[in-house]
Amino acid sequence: MGKPTGFQEFNRELPTKVPAAERVKNYKEFVNLYTDEKLNQQSARCMNCGIPFCHSGCPLGNIIPEFNDAVYRQNWEEAYHILSSTNNFPEFTGRICPAPCESACVLGINKPAVAIEEIEKHIIEIAYQKNLVKPTAPLIKSGKKVAVIGSGPAGLAAAAQLVKAGHAVTVYERDDKPGGLLRYGIPDFKLEKTVVERRIEVMEKDGVVFKLNSEVGVNVAADELVRNNDAIVLAGGSTVPRNLMIPGRELKGIHFAMDFLKQQNKRVSDIAVDGEDILATGKDVVVIGGGDTGSDCVGTSNRQGAKSIKQFEVMFQPPAQRTQHMPWPTYPMVLKTTSSHEEGADRFWGVNTLEFLGDGEGNLRALKVVDVEWEQDFMGRPVKFNIVEGSEREIPCQRVFLAMGFLYPQPAGLLAQLGVELDERKNVKAKEGVYRTNVSKVFAAGDMRRGQSLVVWAISEGRETARKVDEFLMGHSLLESKDAVNQFDQVF
């Protein structure tokens, strides 16, 4: 462990950011790197706990104390090996993960947590700089072929692991670029696309073949794919957005967040935009939905030069601190102010939208909203809401972005053709830890199976699924798993 008394000597510090007023002028990342000294101090805060709750809190099982120690000792190769043993894409999680590890950090009991996510990001950035990120596929191949459908974080993770096990992997992506949400969902200012492309290159060198513009079930026949491969991994994500079916929904100016964000990502990368431009420039914008995607819409709208931005959330405003019902080390539902919020937006909680109002020409003019009050159970969880009498009002706006999450994967096409069974939430049915669908050879990973979730979960599912596929193909597997495996089963 780095420094036994580090946590007593140093406080948590995050890297500096480009000031909000500056950064909204472009779409570049704006979080700076630590100085060497600061990085060393921040890693020294890790206490190398007897029970590293962080390591447990991380959906990937990142071995945080070990890499913190290696960072403290500036042994970058070791740090990279430790980090990459649990996480194929630290450059993604290091930027956009909500860091449940930090919520679980023991230091967090009575002090600010260790800056784990930043340290993670630094390790991988230094590893790229020092050319430590290298292909991992073995010389001796297994002779097995695997198709991965979807190139989001789950698909990529599955592909990276499977190729490491010596299998021939082809990734099918319906878009023109690989990366899924990483590519077209998350704005550049949070994740510059060179970061994604840099990783795709490594994977290609490792032997992963990417088939772009290939939508299985549409322009690639699903049954043929099954016939030609030894295993299939479904990693198409949860793509059907939750809609707000209230009067006026057909008005112009109401868009799903993802359509809005994808267009902007394409623009930043100089790729032609399909269809009509969706822009916030000069408009009064309302983002409906208080999550991360909503936040991304706020940031993008600001950069496009919206006239005003409001963000509505139907839930009540979360507490600023942990309550006794969300004790350490659980992931607390506390008020979060994102960098996009720093850039400017008015946030409202307990607001329910009743109707979209038009200007008579089919364009959105305003929203009719009402305030709600929530009844909570003894644990502080919402049970039902009541409308606040007399709070009904109109909110003028010309753009609404619906960022209320995703429901389930697209059922038609691929899933229908393969005949995979769906669960009651209309996700692909496959047990966590097993990942096999009802169809022979076909596995499912990520949001497609789990329902919408975090990037870190997607990577985790991709990795765990890969191991199961490897076991399926070879009888046993030496691919890592985040949890302890019976080592005897691994080799016998």
Partner: protein, 1523 residues
């Protein structure tokens, strides 16, 4: 002392006989676990003049040592007593003439004293064997004499096994011309008869026994108390019986099964002690069997005396057997004693080189029979006594001017006219006292040893033939270095984890120290883990507990030795210069270059052979077995081909050949060669990648390896250094040197835990219990080791090895990380832990929100262990034999909670906040919290304003005795003697100076900033009779308190518990190995001790068997976490439970496992004021935990149909093995021993229902108390005098308790109670005597004078009649002033060993002392006016000592590691003068008067012993005051 058939079964027999002949229905009890200890002594007329008085006096001495013996459930049945005398010729002649047997002249006939079986057919058959044997050996039978005995004199239990006692008379034939040859013939006869009866008369050997067969001596003994001996044998009271000397023995054994044979003396010795290394010693004896030949025996005779060492007997009896053979093959008795119990010679620069050469030469021939020992011995002419190198048993002697020498375990066992005393002494460590009764003179230790050491030119032999590695030529060829990639692959193949490298190897290499960890262990047992294990993880280290003391390998380094000899041991029965032609190593760890030299060795006579230890990695059944068989075959061939060294190497592994686990390979070859009688002919050197932590090395050595080259560990160090993952500037060579050093230090620690001093004795000693290998494997490859729950077979062991092998040779992608390990820290992919993120969170959440449902979730995770097993209890289910009842019928939780205790955690290891929170919580629920060993601040004795109390109900008494005063002991409901602690049994501890703040220092009676050491042993408990004495002391100190003895689970803890029950403990705590809150070496946490399930059931079974169970409360602890754990513990026999870790977790501990770093971020285990503020635990949280646990227990009780805990205790039939065990390993376990139900004798309970009789009804203190009434009432000074003898023990302790009750720690004003005593005071004179008491003793005292002194003044000086010089004579025994905190003691004479050990505040004057003076002292003043023994001031961190040193000899006796020797300051002079004057006035010391008279000169002849650390603190304080 171990007894029993399987440890001592002759090795060659073990392979032909069925291994375990013990009754399979015994559960976990094994007779070989039994121990005993005792009192011994002799009295002799120096000139050998025979008299009846000698015998009478000897019997009186024996009777006065009755308290050193013991009796069991039947108070009339003793553990055994006996006497050895010369043949009383006149008496026997007259007796025989009545029987018409005509005895020839003395020396021309021999007498056998025989125990015959009662069964007449058997007896007849025995007689026939005897007659035939006598005839066969050409001797002449004269006849039998049946002894008159009084069967009614002995106890009921003893009577059940009483033999027919007869004497046989055998005449010396003419062709045998001298007594020595005749004695040898009688020896052969006895052995031959014994063997024939054992082999031919079924069942007879259990009873048939020769107590003696000799033409010189005879032994009367039996299972009697000391008082019964005279009554039983009418011979002994016959006025005609006479002898020139008599040797006596009184036995205290842990067993109570009738056994007459086990009484002592044996034929040559009486032994108070314990052979720690018996298994190894016996193995080594048999290891050379093929080479044994002697000119004193014909080949046929040799065959007749084999196997030399009998079956089914005690270690002392084995020792007697080995002495016999060595004696009869031509060595003198003192010579034999020097071989078997050598002094500490290795590294002793002051030893005479001739003597040292003798010891070194003999070390090449045989290893010490190691252990605490006071041995009295005789060959009928020479009478003597000898102490082990450590002096761990007392022996005091008196020489009188009427020509007598009286020696015994205690002084004052025989009343002697003081005016006749010429000398009073005590035997010193390693020294011998010898009287030649024929020549009529006392021979000093120096003289006899010089004489024997000069018999042969041992020094020249060594010079010429001993081989030093450094002198050897360079190797002929050498293995190339492993490449970095190969190192990684080898690490995988041998199962290295990242944790092994980071947590173990790196700190060893960088700091040269074994790493330390905290908070015990909660990972699965090796047999339940689904990670491939290192084979040695199935081996649990033994450790010393109660019956023998552990040693301090650091402070008492001088008795320890790592010297080892590689080569042929030679013929033990012969003396030859070539015996020492072997390679001598200072320690057993070889670096690569040294190994290569050895591999290439060629002295013309001495060669080495390398054998590869692999097996075919095809995974087929039997492959490993084949590999081992091949290896053994090759090894045997190599020995036959004349190689002296075998190197077992696992370097040659590849993808198709896996290494045989080295421990298995070594032990298999070792035992194969023993079986063939060839082991003694070779050294076994191991070249292995399979050893990196100290425990691995210890296992290898204990199972036969002579030396070890850990090439992979060394290569690993090189790799981590090269790749920059070490934060150090040290070079590779230094790092490797550090590593080797820490292995060696670690080995010493492991030996010392077991009380073993030398590697030679440890070598092959097998002092491990195997947990998880099956009997077939153990019987074949680890012969004689203990294994009780079955486990893996050979193919499963192979599977574990192959799992690692396949990881190393997998063809998959580029792995760059080893597995994480996760033993010492929770890791997600690592080993599983019971306390993990989920369970810690649930438990804290449940206790904080007072939510039983959340608790149930927690308990479910801990309890279910369905897919993953951790513990033995995890493999069990409840068995229903009764109708379930309503929970309302179950006794209320309030009752149950009274049975809870928290673990012993000291204030110092945890913060005041955490400590007092535990105490408040326990006081609220009526349970008991424990002070731990750090004392307790008196302010906690007062109730708090809100009615809560921070007073810990249990006051612990640990080896350091921190803060143990009369008042502390008085303020307790229970006094706990910590014999061992689960996390590090057999080890001491250290609190570094920087942690000793003002508060802790005050509580511990020490100096802030000065480090504190806890010694490994209690220096007043080296044996079971010593423990009985301490229990008696504590009972005197607070008779209202229960006395609790804390033991750690290990094989044999049951018999120890029986002994402890017989020593009158009220409560016995069996702690599991896995507990532990403080810092401990991480290898101890994991590898020493056993789960409580084994220890508890063994203890319960053994106590019930011995009818002792109802006398004691059984308590258990060790990772108890849920109500289910409690229920299982209750069913296994525990009626009370200790919970520590879970209680701490409820109080906020998050298992940082950093307690040793003082950086606990939640304020639990830290003294940092800032961090302490972060403590957020509340007593309520802890109360909730216990409430929940009790509630869960009640639910289980209702389900099983129990209304009360008492009903439930020990009902193991309510447990069963789970129906479906998933794990392939768990399926192999056999828990029948644990689940073995014991039925109780009618009228007795399976739980505590009677009180112990502490024997306090007639103690002297009642009289003292009566006389002190005015003082107690209104502080009126009182004066009185009393006569005392050695049975008046613990004088003044009860009186002090009464004072403390009224006046607290302030006590009475000085000199309020003034008593004078005359005579020989028993042990513990003035123990815990408090302020206001002033005792004067004219005469002498035994051990432990002023132990725990709490403010009293003691003065002891010789009888006015005495004519001897006080400063040359011993007037008080060993271990005086142990743990004294205040008061003054003046000794007008010499004291024994370990004077003022752990003194932390008392002032004392003494005129001379033995070895280890002022050891671990932390405060107070010692003025020593005479000689000190060796190792003065070892571990002394505080206080001052002044030594009068006119001849300048002191420096060489002082251990200056922690102290400076300074001249006196003026202030010192003043203090010394004051003390000298007081000494004169209180003791009349002539010596002090002379010094005073001559002060000008004398003052320059004093040396001040000034602890360095203390000096620094004092100087800093002075500086601050001045500044």
């Amino acid at each position: 002392m171990q007894i029993g058939n399987f440890v001592v079964t002759p090795l060659y027999k073990r392979f032909t006989l069925k291994m375990n002949q013990t009754d399979s229905n015994q559960g976990l009890y094994r007779p070989e676990f039994e121990h005993d200890s005792c009192g011994t002594g002799f009295i002799t007329n120096i000139n050998g003049h025979k008299s009846n008085q000698i015998i009478d006096d000897a019997l009186t001495m024996l009777e006065n040592m009755e308290h050193r013996g013991a009796c069991g459930c039947d108070p009339e049945t003793g553990d055994g007593a006996g006497i050895l005398i010369q043949l009383p010729h006149e008496f026997l002649m007259e007796e025989c003439s009545n029987l018409e047997i005509s005895l020839p002249e003395p020396g021309e006939y021999g007498v056998g004293m025989i125990f015959f079986p009662k069964d007449s057919a058997q007896k007849k058959a025995c007689r026939i064997v005897i007659t035939n044997a006598i005839e066969k050996l050409g001797l002449v039978k004269l006849g039998y004499r049946k002894l008159t005995v009084d069967s009614m004199a002995v106890g009921e239990t003893a009577r059940q096994a009483e033999p027919d006692v007869e004497q046989i008379f055998i005449a010396r034939p003419h062709h045998i011309t001298n007594a020595e040859d005749f004695e040898r013939k009688l020896f052969i006869l006895r052995r031959y008869i014994n063997k024939t009866i054992t082999d031919t008369i079924p069942g007879a050997s259990e009873y048939f026994y020769f107590t003696s067969l000799s033409c010189k001596t005879i032994v009367y003994k039996g299972q009697v108390t000391t008082y019964q001996l005279r009554k039983y044998y009418s011979d002994l009271t016959d006025p005609r019986i006479a002898s020139g000397f008599a040797m006596i023995h009184s036995r205290f054994s842990t067993n109570t099964f009738p056994s007459w044979k086990l009484a002592q003396p044996f034929r040559l010795i009486a032994h108070n002690g314990e052979i720690n290394t018996l298994t190894g010693n016996l193995n080594w004896f048999y290891a050379g069997l093929k080479s044994y030949a002697s000119s004193y025996f014909t080949a046929e005779e040799m065959e007749m005396i084999m196997p030399v060492i009998d079956n089914n007997q005690s270690d002392s009896a084995c020792l007697d057997n080995i002495i016999e053979i060595l004696l009869h093959s031509g060595r003198s008795l003192p010579h034999v004693m020097m071989m078997l119990v050598p002094e500490a010679w290795d590294g002793n620069v002051h030893m005479d080189p001739i003597k040292k050469a003798f010891y070194e030469y003999h070390a090449t021939l045989m290893e010490p029979w190691d252990g605490p020992a006071a041995i009295t011995f005789t060959d009928g002419k020479l009478v003597g006594a000898l102490l082990d190198r450590n002096g761990l048993r007392p022996l005091r002697y008196v020489i009188t001017n009427d020509g007598r020498v009286i020696a015994a375990s205690e002084a004052g066992t025989l009343a002697i006219d003081e005016s006749t005393v010429v000398r009073k002494g005590r035997l010193q460590p390693g020294k011998m006292l010898l009287i030649d009764t024929e020549k009529g003179r006392i021979i000093t230790d120096d003289e006899i040893k010089k004489q024997i050491a000069s018999r042969q030119p041992y020094g020249r032999w060594l010079e010429n033939y001993k081989i030093n590695l450094s002198e050897l030529t360079e190797p002929r060829l050498a293995f190339a270095q492993l490449s970095e990639a190969s190192v990684f692959r080898y690490q995988q193949v041998f199962g290295y984890s990242r944790e092994d490298i980071d947590t173990i190897i790196k700190p060893m290499a960088v700091d040269g120290k074994e790493p330390v960890g905290s908070m015990g262990t909660d990972v699965p047992l090796a047999i339940l883990s689904d990670k491939p294990q290192h084979l040695s993880s199935y081996f649990k280290q033994f450790f010393a507990q109660v019956t023998n003391p552990p040693i301090d390998p650091i402070r008492e380094r001088l008795v320890m030795s790592l010297a080892t000899f590689i080569g042929n041991n030679g013929n033990l029965l012969d003396e030859d210069k070539m015996h020492c032609h072997c390679v001598v190593l200072k320690h057993p760890i070889l670096k690569n270059h040294q190994l290569e030299k050895l591999r290439s060795i060629d002295t013309g006579l001495f060669h080495a052979k390398t054998l590869q230890t692999y097996f075919v990695a095809d995974g087929m059944p039997g492959s490993l077995e084949k590999g081992i068989a091949r290896l053994c075959r090759y090894a045997e061939d190599a020995v036959d081909d004349g190689f002296e060294v075998l190197i077992l190497s696992d370097r040659a592994v590849d993808s198709e050949h896996a290494p045989i686990p080295t421990l298995l390979a070594v032990s298999a070859v070792h035992h194969h060669l023993i079986k063939k009688g060839r082991r003694g002919a070779v050294g076994l050197v191991v070249e292995t990648g399979d050893a990196w932590e100290v425990h691995h090395f210890a296992c290898l050595l204990a199972f036969g390896a002579t030396a070890i080259n850990p090439y992979l560990a060394l290569a690993t160090i090189e790799t981590v250094k090269n790749n920059g993952s070490l934060e150090t500037g040290l070079d590779i060579k230094t790092l490797q040197k550090n590593y080797v050093k820490s292995v060696n230090d670690g080995l010493l620690k492991i030996f010392s835990k077991m009380g073993i001093s030398t590697l030679q004795s440890y070598h092959g000693s097998q002092v491990f219990e195997i947990l998880g290998l099956n009997k077939t494997v153990v019987d074949k490859y680890f012969c004689g080791a203990v294994t009780r729950i079955g486990g893996l077979g050979l193919d499963e062991i192979a599977r574990e090895a192959l799992c690692k092998h396949r990881m190393g040779f997998n063809t998959k992608g580029a792995d760059n990380l080893l597995p994480e390990g996760g033993i010492y820290q929770w890791k997600r992919r690592g080993e599983a832990h019971l306390f993990n993120p989920t369970t810690v969170h649930l438990l804290q959440h449940a206790t904080r929100s007072n939510d039983y449902n959340v608790y149930k979730n927690y308990a479910k995770v801990i309890n279910e262990q369905t897919e993953k097993h951790f513990t033995i209890r995890g493999l069990l289910d409840f068995a229903h034999h009764r109708e379930s009842i309503s929970i309302d019928e179950v006794e209320p939780a309030e009752n149950i909670m009274k049975r809870f205790a928290t673990g012993a955690m000291s204030f110092g290891s945890i913060s005041h906040e955490a400590h007092s929170t535990m105490a408040i919580a326990m006081n609220r629920i009526g349970g008991k919290s424990n002070t731990g060993e750090g004392g307790e601040d008196e302010m906690r004795y007062e109730k708090m304003a809100n009615g809560d109390s921070m007073r810990s109900a249990i006051k612990q008494v640990a080896s350091a005795r921190f803060g143990v005063t009369s008042n502390y002991l008085t303020n307790a409901d229970e006094l706990q003697i910590k014999m061992a602690q689960g996390a590090k049994p057999g080890e001491g501890g250290q609190l570094p100076g920087h942690k000793v703040d003002d508060w802790i220092a005050k509580t511990r009676h020490s100096t802030p900033g000065v480090g504190l050491i806890s010694p490994p042993p209690h220096h007043d408990i080296y044996s079971i009779e010593d423990l009985a004495q301490l229990i008696f002391d504590l009972k005197n100190a607070n008779r209202a308190a229960r006395i609790n003895v804390k033991l750690v689970s290990k094989a044999g803890v049951g018999t120890i518990a029986a002994g402890v029950a017989k020593a009158h403990a009220d409560v016995i705590l069996i702690a599991g190995y896995d507990g532990g809150t403080g810092a401990s070496p991480i290898s101890s946490v994991k590898h020493a001790g056993l789960p409580w399930e084994l220890g508890l059931t063994e203890a319960h079974q053994t106590l019930v068997r011995n009818k002792l169970r109802s006398r004691v409360v059984l308590q258990t602890d060790g990772q108890l976490k849920t109500g289910r754990d409690l229920a299982i513990a209750a069913l296994m026999g525990a009626e009370e439970w200790g919970v520590a870790t879970a209680a701490l977790v409820a109080g906020g501990c998050i298992m940082m496992r950093k307690c040793h770093l003082n950086t606990c971020p939640v304020g639990v285990a830290t003294q940092d004021p800032e961090l302490r503020k972060l403590f957020s635990g509340k007593a309520d949280h802890v109360v909730n935990l216990f409430k929940f646990m009790a509630e869960e227990l009640r639910e289980i009780m209702a389900e099983l149909g129990f209304r009360t805990i008492n009903e439930m205790v020990g009902r193991v039939q309510f447990l069963k093995v789970k129906d479906h065990l998933e794990s392939w390993k768990a399926k192999k376990i056999d828990l029948s021993g644990i689940l073995h139900p014991v039925t109780n004798t009618k009228g007795m309970t399976l739980y505590n229902s009677e009180k112990q009789d502490h024997g306090m009804a007639d103690i002297l203190d009642w009289q003292l108390l009566e006389a002190a009434k005015p003082a107690l009432e209104d502080k009126t000074p009182v004066f009185a005098s009393f006569d005392v003898i050695n049975v008046n023990r613990t004088i003044g302790t009860l009186l002090s308790n009464e004072i403390s009750k009224v006046y607290g720690s302030a006590g009475l004003p000085d000199n309020t109670i003034n008593y004078k005593f005359k005579g020989s005071a028993g042990q513990s004179f003035g123990a815990f005597a408090t302020k206001g008491i002033s005792f004067e003793l004219e005469g002498e005292a035994n051990d432990y004078v002023g132990k725990g002194l709490s403010g009293a003044q003691l003065a002891i000086y010789p009888s006015a009649k005495a004519t001897f010089t006080p400063e040359d004579n011993i007037i008080i025994g060993n271990v005086a002033l142990y743990g004294a905190t205040s008061g003054e003691v003046f000794i007008g004479g010499m004291a024994g060993e370990r004077f003022a050990v752990r003194n932390s505040g008392a002032t004392t004057v003494v005129e001379g002392i033995g070895d280890h003076g002022c050891e671990y002292m932390t405060g107070g003043r010692a003025l020593i006016l005479g000689k000190t023994g060796r190792n003065f001031a070892a571990g002394m961190s505080g206080g001052l000592a002044w030594i009068y040193n006119p001849d300048n000899s002191f420096a060489e006796n002082c251990n200056t590691e922690m102290v400076d020797l300074d001249p006196l300051s003026l202030q010192d002079e003043e203090q010394i003068l004051t003390l000298l004057r007081k000494h004169v006035s209180l003791t009349g010391s002539k010596l002090a008067q002379q010094i005073l008279a001559n002060w000008a000169e004398a003052s320059t002849q004093f040396v001040k012993v000034y602890p360095k650390e203390y000096k620094k603190v004092v100087e800093k304080l002075q500086y601050q005051t001045i500044g």
